[in-house]
Symmetry: C2
């Protein structure tokens, strides 16, 4: 009992192959009555189109472009690496991915990059949300090119989908961890902000404040530090803040610059004595988690993001269904104990 093919449908429906083909591919020139008969036959036989064969015949290939900021944080490096690796394996499925790098925080450059994409069937974009970018996404969508927003969402745009975590929820999770892990019931907390993707960090901050206020109303949250996602800046400003407030119990790092943070804590002899929750599993964060400087890391799996993006784009390109559970990017909480193996 092999799976049925177009030929079986033709026989079952009592029509010719050509007609079945017309119905399957929604080509004109078939009476409504006949369409129904064919569809009934398809139903009866449980026919599922062989996508592989179809794509072969269509000689379709998927050309996908990733438009990413030229930021050099560990997270971005990891993301780029994950995309390259996922693209390497996707080559087996006739998918070719290209990475286009754009000056961070430069909407004009981003728009130019988006407009300059030629011969591309789908686009993944990580960029701050601005009106110009939103319009550029609209133009791509208009032209039938699906667009997914990566890591930082582009709401109110014509993007097909967002691949990334809910940063509001991530911030809430961080708050719960900070509040519960802190040694004192009414902790004093320092927030180290970054800047990179304005939107996601803002959302994390919002969620953090909300949950702190609700569950740990006795906590004191000091004015946040602008670390600019730069380890040196983080190191210096954090040192200043800790000098000014000797009784800090916890640290929440919602941006990049883990190396600077770790460095300052070690220098002040505070490693392991202050509760630290940070975002993204960078090499520095992993090491700090292992030696106890950082207590918990909240992260999104860049490998998952890369693979999910490719799947989502492919599905959008040829209208295949998706498994929603598979595309849900998790807000992962990592302690020293559940750290996945390196590499």
């Amino acid at each position: 009992m092999q799976r049925p093919t177009v030929n079986d449908i033709a026989k079952e429906a009592g029509v010719s192959l050509a007609t079945v083909d017309r119905v399957l591919n929604a080509r004109p020139g078939v009476r409504a009555r006949t369409v129904v008969r064919v569809n009934e036959a398809i139903e009866r036989l449980g026919y599922v189109r062989d996508v592989a064969a179809a794509n072969l015949a269509r000689r379709r290939s998927y050309r996908v472009a990733f438009v990413l900021p030229d930021s050099r944080t560990s997270f971005m490096q990891a993301l780029r690496g994950a995309i390259e690796s996922a693209a390497g394996l996707a080559a087996f499925d006739r998918t070719a991915a290209r990475i286009v790098t754009v000056a961070a925080f430069d909407p004009t450059a981003t728009v130019r990059a988006l407009a300059g994409l030629d011969g591309v069937d789908g686009v993944a974009l990580m960029a701050p949300e601005t009106p110009q970018v939103r319009d550029a996404i609209g133009r791509l969508a208009q032209a039938g090119t699906p667009v997914v927003a990566l890591v930082s969402d582009q709401p109110n745009s014509a993007r097909n989908r967002f691949v990334g975590i809910n940063n509001l929820a991530a911030g809430r999770t961080a708050a719960q961890l900070v509040g519960r892990f802190a040694r004192r019931p009414d902790p004093t907390v320092v927030v180290v902000a970054g800047s990179m993707m304005a939107r996601d960090q803002m959302e994390r901050r919002l969620g953090f404040d909300e949950t702190m206020l609700r569950f740990f109303p006795g906590a004191t949250i000091l004015p946040s530090i602008e670390g600019r996602d730069d380890s040196d800046v983080v190191a210096q400003r954090l040192a200043e803040a800790l000098a000014a407030h000797p009784r800090v119990d916890a640290l929440y790092a919602l941006g990049a610059g883990h190396r600077g943070l770790v460095h300052t804590l070690a220098a002040l002899g505070l490693a392991g004595r202050i509760t630290v929750v940070a975002h993204e599993l960078t090499p520095a964060a992993r090491a700090a988690l292992e030696d106890g400087t950082i207590d918990a890391v909240i992260t999104q799996d860049v490998g998952h993001i890369a693979r999910s993006t490719l799947r989502v784009l492919r599905a959008a390109i040829d209208g295949t269904p998706l498994d929603p559970g598979q595309e849900q990017i998790r807000i992962e909480i990592l302690l020293r104990e559940n750290l996945p193996p390196a590499g």
Copy 2:
């Protein structure tokens, strides 16, 4: 600039199509020198075999069997559901999965089921570890049928791979959460054991004890409760234990029976007053997490397990490479704040 095909390789290497084919499919009858030339051409052109076309021509389909215990815990139901759903989507990739149910804890029945599989290209097995089962796996492997162990490992067997989490690490993670979330520094802890898969629960217990001893040496761990993975049993024995030890601070549930646990805590007015860490995101656990009865859930994504198993088996069947990162099942920590959307 299309991607190169076998014809391009033939031209580039200065050999015929037949020879390229022999090399690609490792068929005999090609001089070593020629093999090298062909491989160089492949390298030079960056050829990647079109797996879809290859499988089409081979008219290969993947018939996979899942051998599962007939246990009716929520976790098993979720796992079955995930497998069915993954199998539904895998139909597009000419993969047909079948679920074979076997009496739990019956090695003979398991062995019989494994031996009775006909016309199957790969097997996924979830069963307690026994010598008979190990031998049955060996026979399958001997016959060239890849086997993966699901959820509970079968070490020292000829299984191709284990798809599931490191339960030792999961137990350690639970200990860290219990120790840190408990309201008292030297908490009294009750462990609710199950029984289902002897091996994984034992490992969790080991990891839990190890980490409690190391990081929270002041903690008191009471004799564990044998819940038999049954809500009614859990409910009753837990009530007895809590009556006997009124000063319990934390609960670690490493098996099934969440409904019973929640019920007893509610009945005693202890919901939200005792720190509770449990395994697996069942509907009861989700609800308890949301209303604060359970503080943290440690879980493994059944959808991921199902999909990963199918990918691993397919890769084993036709020798395709795998993305190791993609097949790493995470030890997920879920709080109320980072609960993935239901469904």
